[in-house]
Assembly symmetry: C2
Homo-oligomer: 464 residues x 2
């Protein structure tokens, strides 16, 4: 142990290694409702300052068969950065430089520790746009976003992180440094390693540099709120808007639990008796937006909206979005434990999915609020509970399983954007079937034969 520590000191410098009990304990959490087993503390936390250091750390870990948990801000909600016993937690936040923003080629090169929101502000100053917008963007890192293939409300129009990653530098479990992809939009030089690493949740390699595609910043945007006294009306609106050839930048759905709770917390003028609201943003050319707002308003009313409000000022729009962003946090007023699910279905199955969630809430007597990126069918069934109440938590576990099974039955996926992590590894096989799961495990074994990289996520602990 002492010798190992000396090696770590040599690689990253003594000031970038933490091994006190209190430090180790501090890295047992992430933003998920997932706690490490008692006593499963990491052995040490290291903060490398360069790709070379990452490579040396991986060589050491591979030689000594020490599990390595790569970590950005730890803001994932799937347990993707929960450590295993005696592992090395590798924190990549020192690698936080924006290396290049090339506005003529619409390309940026960043280190993994750059905070998503900071990067977005920087490119927007140049009239450019990096769309992926996970709720965690004020603190999440771009490396974490790439490893998790983060999504967000804008996914319906702009896609998710994988659609913006052109190339990567990755350190493999044996310390080899690999460059994938490149700087061009079109690139078919061999297998698509870039997208193999994107969304691999730190199980195949450590991302040390990211080349990102940018697009021009839309000229203008407009926010509107539509209020419904039935969930069906809201859900039907979503499909009708898109069938009319309009892809809004965001199309957010909130159910009555959320509405009531947000309103009581933020006072933005949501009607307390509404069954559902849609928060819709369109962006692009001002003339087009104007036409789209008119069309969308008409569709909302056709589908039974009792009220449609177009934000008149950017202040008003800002307030609505502020309220949406506060939604999750506001729920903590009701119950101490808030678990956000992200099972996702094709958008026309949304009404049925919401109905099934309601039924599941009744069946298991648990409190479920529903919010979601309705435009891409990415619902967040939100479980409100108290983790100290074991009896309640057992019912919550059953209800979560029922929600995931409902999504799979409705042609959906166990996870739209949160990732598998530790939280959903038990459900992965059900979606994939043995052939696809076997193939993924073979790929993991090929890249990481000693199973040292984030070994408890994706396929479940102790599965190798």
């Amino acid at each position: 142990m002492t010798q190992l520590l000396d090696e770590l000191y040599n690689i990253v410098g003594r000031e970038h290694v933490y091994s006190a009990y209190s430090d180790r304990y501090c890295y047992t959490y992430d933003a998920s409702f997932c706690t490490v087993q008692s006593g499963n503390l990491p052995a040490f936390i290291v903060h490398p300052g360069s790709v070379e250091e990452v490579s040396q750390l991986m060589q050491l870990a591979n030689r000594e068969k020490i599990p390595v948990i790569p970590r950005g801000a730890g803001s994932n909600v799937s347990g993707g950065t929960i450590p295993v016993r005696d592992c090395m937690v590798m924190v990549l936040t020192r690698l936080n430089r924006i290396l290049e923003i090339d506005s003529r080629n619409l390309v940026a090169v960043v280190e993994p520790g750059v905070v998503t929101g900071v990067f977005q502000q920087e490119v927007e100053k140049l009239g450019l746009f990096y769309p992926p917008d996970p709720a965690s963007l004020p603190f999440s890192t771009l490396g974490g976003n790439a490893a998790e293939c983060a999504g967000g409300p804008r996914g319906v129009k702009y896609g998710v992180t994988r659609d913006y990653v052109l190339g990567l530098q990755v350190v493999l479990p044996d310390g080899q440094i690999v460059e994938t992809g490149g700087r061009t939009l079109k690139n078919v030089a061999g297998y698509d390693l870039t997208r193999l690493f994107v969304g691999s949740e730190g199980t195949l390699g450590i991302i040390t540099r990211i080349t990102l595609r940018l697009i021009p910043l839309p000229e203008a945007k407009q926010t509107m709120l539509a209020v419904y006294d039935s969930v069906d009306g809201a859900a039907e609106t979503v499909a009708a808007v898109i069938s009319a050839g309009i892809i809004p930048a965001t199309l957010e759905f909130l159910d009555q639990v959320y509405i009531k709770n947000i309103e009581e917390y933020a006072h933005v003028g949501f009607p307390l008796d509404a069954a559902a609201v849609l928060l819709i943003e369109v962006d692009g050319d001002p003339a087009v937006i104007e036409k789209q707002v008119v069309k969308i308003e008409k569709i909302c009313r056709q589908q039974g909206a009792t009220q449609v409000r177009v934000a008149r000022t950017s202040q008003e729009a800002g307030d609505l979005w502020q309220a949406r962003r506060a939604a999750f946090g506001a729920l903590a007023r009701l119950k101490p434990t808030v678990i956000g699910e992200d099972a996702t279905v094709p958008r026309t199955n949304l009404p049925e999915m919401v109905k099934r969630i309601r039924r599941i809430a009744e069946e298991f007597d648990v409190l479920i609020a529903v919010v979601g990126h309705a435009g891409d069918g990415n619902l967040h069934a939100t479980f409100l509970c108290d983790e100290r109440d074991q009896e309640e938590m057992a019912r919550v576990d059953q209800a979560i399983a029922a929600v995931i099974n409902a999504a799979l039955a409705l042609q959906g996926t166990v996870s739209g954007e949160h990732g598998i992590g530790r939280m959903k590894s038990g459900f992965l096989a059900r979606q994939l079937g043995p052939a696809a799961l076997g193939l993924m495990r073979n790929i993991k074994r090929t890249l990481d034969p000693n199973n040292i990289l984030n070994p408890a996520v994706m396929f479940g602990e102790g599965q190798e």
Copy 2:
């Protein structure tokens, strides 16, 4: 051999197996300038009619270690479907049904043998759009497009095939049937197997079903032609238009050799003395297009365009695009052998790349015409030669290598959209380096341990 044939007859039916010398000879070509070594004929050609038959064929091939070359229309230009000695050519054109077009979820499900252009017409009838537009789209298949990750002129705005594939059904080399991805835009259930297979050139599995993302059909489009007396002016225009926040649907560049030749062949009014022309199409909302055309015209003139013509009628626009599409074929008037390269660079390196191609043409005394999807830096240096002239072909080979090296030196890729196939396997290592290449070969070995699937492409013949 007789016993093998009997097994094949049992699986697909006698009428779907071809083993006569003439049949075998007929499958030694594809659209590339790549000929099979003398005597390297396939042993038989099979046309399976279902995924189950594909699976049984792969089980047989894997047991007997028979190489299998999957084939759609054989329209790739990289030698991706050139057989190896005594292989089984598996032609997938019987699997040619459009299984579903779901206009409310913007999703379609197709079999791999559906012709790209036919599919596009079908979805456009419903007001939907499938953008990838390889030049071969009148006859190429969607399975081939997925296996090659086909691109086309619209890549600059709409991306390439990988951006539209949501899920796949794939038969692995051992006959297992795998389902990847799904029907939702957001999906992070495990590794991105979908994009591992897209662009894998038939080396990892046989694609038997494809779930595709669609988008709304743009309301209108407008075509314009800008004429330059210098290549630099045209190339600078490309970067300037995109820097102005306009992403045209296509931004095609043609050099003087192409211009002169097209004009003599098609008489569309290209000025014979021009150094370069840009053919630009914008699409979307009519009001926005109108504004964009004005802006683009201004930029073209600022960058020295001697003439800017906006197509007044759809007939006129059609003629211009007809001419562009005829470009490659028209060159056959000059020389019997026409080889289209597709080394690609970041778009701001286009002027330098065109200069280097000119210099290479002089140095090796070969005739090179340049056309390209300039918006995404995807040039097609086109070598005009006579394959019967061995001395000339030696110079052409050297010139091709020089062009590829120039692209790599300018932060580019050996292939933007044609694929590696047999033509570029020798260059792959130079771009990837040993670590990335080694990783790809490990993935190939993991999925196809007997190296039976398209063994001569990507990594080169006899490399395993």
